[in-house]
Amino acid sequence: MIGLGAVPLIADAIDEPFYTVLFSRMLILSIGAVSLNLILGYGGMVSFGHAVYLGIGSYVVGIGTLHAVEDGVTWMGDGFIHMAVAVCASAIAALFIGAISLRTRGVYFIMITLAFAQMFYFIAVGNESYGGDDGLSLYMRSDFSGLLDLSNDNTLYYLNFGFLIITLYLSHRLIKSRFGMLIRGAKSNEQRMRSIGFPVFRYRLVAFILSGAICGLAGVLSANQTDFVSPSVMHWTRSGDLIIMIVLGGMGTLFGPVIGAVAFLFLEEFLSEFTEYWQIFFGPLLVLVVIFGQGGIDGILVRLDNWWSKSSLSKQKQ
């Protein structure tokens, strides 16, 4: 974590500002993955449409700044308003999607969340006034009225970093709370939770909304990061990427999604630098992680940790 905090300093020192951008992207996707992990890892709700909220957050910034720049409506460029609107809009969307989807189970749940995501995707594609398929270029970043200057990539990096820490802390507190216990309980045995008398559906819905709202916030950051918004932010492959990051890193663990997101983007960047045919290594790597690494990378690391401490313990005994 401290290492991540120092990234912009190191990048500036070696005059490679590109890495600030790369790690910034990792942080944003980490927030998205952590938010999805709340419902997927802990709650067993496999949402295959989580990128919708990234999209909603992004479009709030895209549309807001467009009007701020073109029509001079300054309040629409305000960062606080972007965040508030993005969180509310994402929560409302999640309420709508969740209320219908959570009635189904298993693969049907996966597919119905995908269906809603595709609807939002095509709404964005069809909306010509905001760029349609071609997307919108941002001509300013969210304006935090002198408090923060996001046009500086390092400032944006630390904003992302701060939000990731807050998200991790919140999700840690939430999971340990009574509410979190309930969500986890409903994952392992829904029947029992129900017969004890808990309104499982309602709890799940709340978790679903919370998760969507956080991801919406990640969308706001993402739009500022890329200076560009297009429907591809909420394409189903992006939702798939989020799931893959979680499973790769380790689901239902606090840091798993962060590790997954960092590893995913790092491998993409590193392997593609190394060979044009990087996916021929990346693909089988994923298969191997699944077959040999129960619990993703985090699971492997934890097991290595255990093995390490066990062997050093036995050495001490000798």
């Binding site: 997307g135 270029s137 560009f228 591809s232 590893a263 985090d298």
Partner: protein
């Protein structure tokens, strides 16, 4: 262990970062190298390499380093690659760009950030008009121009009822806008199809048949064009309704389309048989190098390198002298495949547009030849929205 993981990541980052080279002209070239449109990017790369060969791999006394990046046909990926070229590779020129939506998405990462941006194909309206910029140049055309010329041709042919089909993205919309600007007859039907997902045009072709127009006009670049021509013929429309196109039939699809495209008419700013010494040498050497006729994409990419060369040699290799390079490029004083031309105030060429027809050359290869000149020294309609003057 988690810490170890992080250290590995940071170490890896240090390893892959490369030291910057001094005094080398670094040119980023963003194009599509994979998928169905990969053939286009490949063609452009061949033309760039040929141009560098013609220059002896040097611009003045400076070495040249090319950075080819694959946008995979997606605006967000193109944007990311562009950002990498500017921030990591620190290139002096960012060029390439087949697709208008990729160009529009990437523009802000380059313009105003130091490097020059030169489009080698895409020419969406905004960058020629309101968003024109002193660091942005084109070695192609503005999207509307080619189809405006086609509208003129259709008027001259006496076409009354026209059916239009194009993909639903930035360039598709400009192309349709262009033909609608000049065509005086009725547009009896218009289909904007999903791009690039939709390759099956059966539903739309059935509508064309039902509408029974005098002519069909399409804009389908790359593999879409090939599929369209095939399906047009499979549906039995070839021969009964004449088909006119822009950027749809090119030297990549012709060897595969053969007779399907024979006699087909299109408008364009250039053709392989355009009669000037630069073009003759370019086409001959390109064919020697690759065994194919060059596409217009290739021709424009060749010009891109020549334009950059004119700028670099004008300032004697001093790449920090941006105003000197800009002034040199504005003169358009380089051997262009389209012959001598001038830049408009928006840094888009003022140039001729020709009507081309698909023919068989003396060796039996399919290519195109110029039928007549439709526009002479034509300037795009967006130039007046550009506030730049020099």
């Amino acid at each position: 262990m988690r810490k170890l993981f992080l250290w590995t990541v940071s170490l890896g980052v240090l390893i892959i970062s490369q030291a910057a080279m001094a005094d080398t002209v670094k040119i980023g070239f963003v194009t599509t190298l994979t998928g169905g449109a990969g053939a286009i990017g490949n063609d452009m790369r061949d033309a760039v390499e040929l141009a560098l060969d013609h220059l002896g791999r040097k611009m003045g006394s400076s070495d040249v380093k090319m950075f080819y990046e694959d946008d995979t046909f997606k605006p967000d990926v193109g944007k990311q690659k562009t950002e990498k070229l500017v921030k990591k590779d620190k290139v002096h020129f960012v060029t390439g760009y087949i697709w208008s939506h990729v160009l529009l998405a990437s523009r802000n990462s380059v313009v105003g950030k130091g490097p020059f941006m030169i489009t080698s194909n895409a020419g969406p309206g905004p960058v020629a008009g309101k968003l024109c910029h002193e660091d942005f140049f084109s070695t192609s055309w503005q999207n509307d121009q080619t189809t405006m010329a086609m509208g003129e041709v259709l008027n001259q042919l006496g076409i009354k009822n026209l059916y239009i089909m194009a993909p639903n993205y930035a360039a598709g919309k400009s192309m349709v806008a262009g033909v609608s600007r000049t065509f005086k007859g009725n547009i009896v039907g218009k289909d904007m199809t999903k791009f690039p997902a939709q390759l099956d045009f059966s539903a739309e072709l059935a509508k064309v048949r039902a509408a029974n127009p005098d002519a069909v006009f399409v804009f389908y670049p790359g593999k879409h064009g090939m599929q369209f021509f095939k399906q047009y013929s499979q549906a039995g429309l070839k021969g009964s309704v004449p088909l006119y196109s822009a950027f749809t039939v090119d030297s990549l699809s012709l060897p595969r389309l053969k007779d399907l495209a024979s006699g087909s008419l299109m408008t364009q700013f250039w053709a392989p048989d355009l009669d000037n010494p630069v073009n003759k040498r370019f086409v001959a050497d390109y064919r020697k190098k690759t065994g194919r006729y060059p596409t217009f994409y290739a021709a424009q990419s060749y010009d891109t390198i020549m334009l950059i060369n004119s700028a670099v040699t004008a300032v004697g290799g001093d790449l920090s002298n941006k105003s000197g390079m800009r002034a040199a490029m504005r003169k358009a004083d380089f051997p262009s495949i389209r012959g001598p031309f001038k830049y408009g105030n928006n840094h888009f060429p003022i140039q001729n547009f020709y009507l081309r027809k698909v023919i068989k050359d003396s060796e039996g290869n399919f290519t195109t030849s110029i039928e007549k000149t439709v526009y002479t020294n034509h300037q795009d309609p967006y130039a007046k929205d550009c506030k730049m003057s020099w």
